[in-house]
């Protein structure tokens, strides 16, 4: 029987009721008395010098409250970057200022130059049209290779060039060169990890108000991590101490990474509300989102694999250019380095691995973490390369992978991480069963009978989640700790509010987190409420990203609940005049072991708040505990994915016929939610592989700036997926044994799709080594023409 309660139960989500009835409260649903509306005048050129700004006519327009320009922000801090990466020469990365409103120059299309605050949005927009702005256009750098060439235009005039850092990591050069020198075969692949736009369906919104009475600012914002925004904006940009700044992230309509970062618009509305002493609201249009939300991916990589005569992997070397865009977004620098290089071993015991990454400034929107963040880039290059090696060697790609699997744990890779546990053979076995490998030949014949080509692609993935041990990331340059926090507040009647630092924007924390606490206490989930997204209500929190919520914040919640149990047992012991060590808690009842004496959960909680018969000399009244949890290691979800495609040789169109995902997430709290997370990740990965592409022209104009031009996956583009998480090796170092499931689908799926297309083409006699994503009909057809 499936469980209906506690850990492991596929409980229906309680948050769904408000979302299904239109009662959700997203940031744009918040309106504050007396609010004004803000519209940003943004750069329409990629690179230029601001010659003049004349706001006098605009300022006289109806309804205009005030117009702000870069001058208003002289002396105000810029947007900070949260991770200091060190160049291979030992120098710190170049970190140019990132102003709230452009200072003297514009460096990408969409950069905010002026902000008009007016009584209505229409008035703000109309007035922005009347601003007289002169920009002397400068040559733009868009292509990363060109940006690094001598004589290229510089994005930042006071830097020596467009190189942010040159990073090298992993095995010593001599060890890697020795591996390649002794190789029986070397496979080389050059590829692009296409630039993407995260596109949560809710565009960003920021509403700020200022209470002059107590000098307090409140910012409502579409954020995955309100405390991080409070810290960054308060301490680094506006100089507002934490106790005078409240950040609220209410219902948030999807994040996928792009709502982690601290954005100019949030700082602007908070600043402006203080200046004009009225609330200020900004709501992004989708077009603005395309040119102001941080983009994702955008790597160009050359990767080489050395194999010995028995096809064992003996060396791996990568050389990547990673686009940073015009400025360093909050965690941009960490994505191509510590979130990418450390995963290059994949699931394989390659003994020598070296990763080289050059991060490059270009006149494009800043690039930062997008679902998977560095790990999809690592997985894609490695798993495409292994497939290419198998084809070159004429061996079965699954067999080649199996032969090189890491099979004993813990396993320290040459790229600085230690996998605590895993079973890559089990997930591959499961995958083969799910995709029905024996039936493939018949399915291929069926496709061929219809004049179609059919291909099967397989790959593995590993990710580092549960971000992250603070001591470790501190050594690696993180300017933050990456613990999380939870407060468990038990009320007098026994109901519980759990204040968590994780933020739920689709992940179902409001349902899954109570399952954990209910399981520990033996009470019903309906007595437990999760509170999140408001810095005035929760103790602290680093937020939700990197598949960390349950592994890190959930662990803090477990620790706080353990403290609750310890204290409650003391109270129960006193009530029953027994020894504390003899008290057992089961199904919400405290029992003296070996007796029929018991008190109920509610008796104990009432005693804590009505302490008439209470050991006041030994313990305090009340029942509320807080825990901060800092993980000992990353977690390492892993798995194997397979995709079957049909290719129409007449048009090059690829159709996904089957997709199977065998994941090891360790223990699972709510399997329904976990499967939903995988489904969503798969669609994003399939979107990257087949459809999505963020395109700039040579002048830095963004060509894919709406849903008319940027191909989002629709219902008709994806199949029903087969997903499985039964091959579980629980994480060894967190109390729930959980690993995280939020990013796996997006990390694991792109290589399976591309491998499948190449299998279809090569099987049909087309000698095609690689096609860059998105594998569009045009690209497939061109590849088939040789």
């Amino acid at each position: 029987m499936p469980k209906d309660h506690g850990i492991g139960a596929a409980q229906k989500r309680r948050e769904d009721v408000r979302f299904l009835t239109g009662a959700g409260q997203y940031t744009d649903d918040i309106n504050v008395y007396g609010q004004t509306y803000c519209h940003f005048l943004r750069s329409d050129v990629a690179h230029g010098k601001i010659a003049s700004i004349d706001t006098s006519a605009a300022a006289a327009m109806p309804g205009v409250v005030r117009i702000f320009t870069g001058t208003d922000f002289e002396g105000v801090g810029g947007l900070p970057c949260g991770w200091q990466v060190t160049d291979k020469n030992g120098d710190p990365m170049k970190e140019p200022p990132h102003p709230v409103l452009a200072q003297g120059k514009v460096r990408h299309v969409g950069e905010p130059i002026c902000a008009v605050v007016a009584e209505t949005l229409e008035q703000a927009r109309d007035a922005a049209e009347a601003i007289e702005l002169e920009i002397e256009e400068l040559p733009a750098v868009v292509d990363m290779k060109a940006a690094l060439e001598g004589g290229a235009a510089k994005v930042h005039d006071d830097l020596s060039d467009n190189l942010c850092y040159d990073w090298q990591f992993g095995s010593e050069t001599a060890a890697v060169e020795a591996a390649f020198a002794s190789a029986a075969h070397v496979t080389t692949l050059e590829l692009v990890n296409n630039r993407l736009v995260a596109n949560p369906m809710e565009p960003r919104v920021a509403v700020a108000e200022y209470a002059r009475a107590n000098d307090e600012s409140t910012l409502y914002t579409t954020s995955q991590n309100p405390h991080v925004i409070r810290l960054l904006m308060g301490a680094f940009v506006l100089g507002i101490p934490e106790h005078k700044l409240r950040v609220v992230a209410p219902d948030v309509g999807g994040g996928f990474g792009t709502k982690i970062f601290h954005y100019a618009e949030e700082a602007f509305v908070t600043f402006a509300a203080r200046q004009i002493n009225r609330p200020v609201k900004w709501t992004s249009t989708r077009s603005e989102a395309f040119m102001s939300d941080a983009h994702g991916r955008d790597h160009v990589t050359k990767i080489e694999l050395a194999l010995d005569a028995e096809n064992n992997f003996i060396g791996l070397r990568t050389d990547t250019l990673a686009n940073m865009g015009a400025y360093l977004s909050t965690f941009a620098s960490s994505v191509p380095t510590w979130l990418h290089g450390t995963l290059m071993a994949g699931n394989y015991k390659t003994p020598a691995i070296q990763v080289n990454v050059k991060a490059v400034f270009t006149n494009t929107v800043p690039v930062d973490a997008y679902r998977g963040a560095g790990r999809p880039e690592a997985t894609f290059q490695l798993e495409r390369l292994v497939d290419k090696a198998a084809r070159e060697l004429g061996v079965d790609p699954i067999k080649l992978r199996r032969q090189n699997f890491i099979e004993s744990f813990p396993y320290a890779t040459p790229v600085a991480v230690e996998y605590d546990t895993g079973d890559y053979v089990a997930t591959m076995d499961k995958l083969e069963e799910m995709i029905d490998i024996p039936g493939f030949a018949a399915r291929r014949a069926e496709s061929e009978a219809k004049g179609k080509l059919r291909g099967l692609g397989v790959n593995c993935y590993i990710e580092a989640c549960g971000i992250a041990p603070s001591n470790l990331v501190g050594q690696l340059g993180a300017r933050a700790g990456l613990y999380d926090a939870a407060t468990v507040r038990v009320n007098a009647t026994g109901s519980i509010s759990v204040m968590v630092g994780a933020h739920s924007h689709g992940q179902g924390h409001e349902t899954a987190f109570p399952q954990v606490v209910a399981d520990m206490l033996g009470i019903d989930e309906s007595m437990i409420e999760i509170v999140h997204g408001d810095t005035s209500k929760i103790p602290f929190g680093m937020g939700t990203y990197g598949s960390r919520s349950l592994a890190v914040c959930g662990s803090a919640m477990v620790r706080a609940t353990e403290k609750i149990i310890n204290k409650a047992k003391k109270i129960a012991a006193h009530l029953m005049e027994a020894s504390e060590g003899d008290i057992e808690l089961q199904d919400g009842m405290f029992t003296v072991a070996g007796t029929d004496k018991s008190v109920a959960w509610g008796d104990v909680t009432l005693a804590a708040y009505v302490p008439h018969n209470y050991p006041l000399t030994e313990i305090e009244p009340g029942l509320e505990e807080t825990a901060f949890y800092d993980p000992a290691n990353f977690t390492y979800p892993a798995g194997a994915y397979a995709c079957e495609v049909e290719v129409d040789p007449e048009t090059g169109k690829v159709t996904i016929e089957r997709f199977a995902a065998a994941d090891d997430f360790g223990n699972v709290v709510n399997p329904m939610i976990v499967e939903g997370q995988v489904h969503g990740g798969l669609a994003q990965g399939i979107g990257q592989a087949l459809l999505e592409n963020c395109v700039y022209d040579a002048d830095g104009q963004l060509l894919s700036a709406s849903y008319m031009d940027y191909a989002m996956p629709r219902a008709g583009d994806v199949p029903f997926y087969k997903v499985d998480h039964s091959c579980a090796t629980p994480c060894t170092h967190n109390p729930l044994g959980v690993k995280g499931c939020g990013e796996a689908g997006a990390i694991g799926s792109p290589p399976a799709v591309v491998n499948a297309v190449l299998d279809a083409l090569n099987n049909a006699g087309h000698n095609v080594a690689h096609i860059d994503m998105p594998v569009s009909p045009h690209r497939v057809w061109q590849a088939m023409q040789g």
């Binding site: 077009s287 489904h679 029903f720």
Partner: protein
């Protein structure tokens, strides 16, 4: 300004509106019915789908003035009279057909229109009908499944139960 009168979720409303006010603005800003969401500015995403005289319409493509005299339905009017979820809403909850919830009102409104036109749609018909509704969270699997279930079809054999 133009005076418009219409029935929204069974209730008659009358307001003075700008000629260029979209239905999304009218519902959200004038009537405070914030369940109708705005996810794009090119009429692609479908987060704003509403019913106008029984037709499935994107609220961002129609002016409030055009709805003068119309019967308008929004997500806020979809639940049963006793406040419980209707069959489509319940199927979305039962089959985890939503995550962040932002596209959900439009999905539910489109699903209702689809089932009115085609009470037992196939998987392919559902996927085709949802062409104008973008979801970034669910990968559509559980949305399609929920709509099939809401139409009374057995979904127990669909992968990934």
């Amino acid at each position: 300004m133009t005076k418009v009168t219409m029935t929204v979720n069974g209730k008659s409303v009358s307001k003075e509106v700008r000629g260029n006010m979209l239905m999304t603005e009218f519902l959200r800003d004038e009537l405070h019915l914030t369940g109708t969401h705005v996810g794009c500015d090119t009429s692609q995403c479908g987060a704003c789908n509403i019913h106008v005289n029984g037709e499935n319409v994107k609220g961002c493509t129609i002016f409030a003035a055009e709805c003068d005299g119309a019967e308008v339905g929004t997500i806020e009017g979809q639940a049963n009279a006793d406040g419980s979820l209707n069959a489509i809403q319940q199927a979305f909850q039962d089959h985890h057909g939503l995550q962040c919830g932002f596209c959900t009102p439009g999905m539910v409104m489109s699903a209702a229109s689809l089932l009115k036109e085609n009470p037992k749609p196939t998987e392919a018909e559902i996927r085709h009908y949802l062409e104008g509704n973008i979801c970034r969270c669910t990968g559509y699997h559980n949305i399609v499944k929920a709509i099939m279930a809401a139409s009374g079809q057995d979904v127990s054999s669909i992968a990934a139960e």
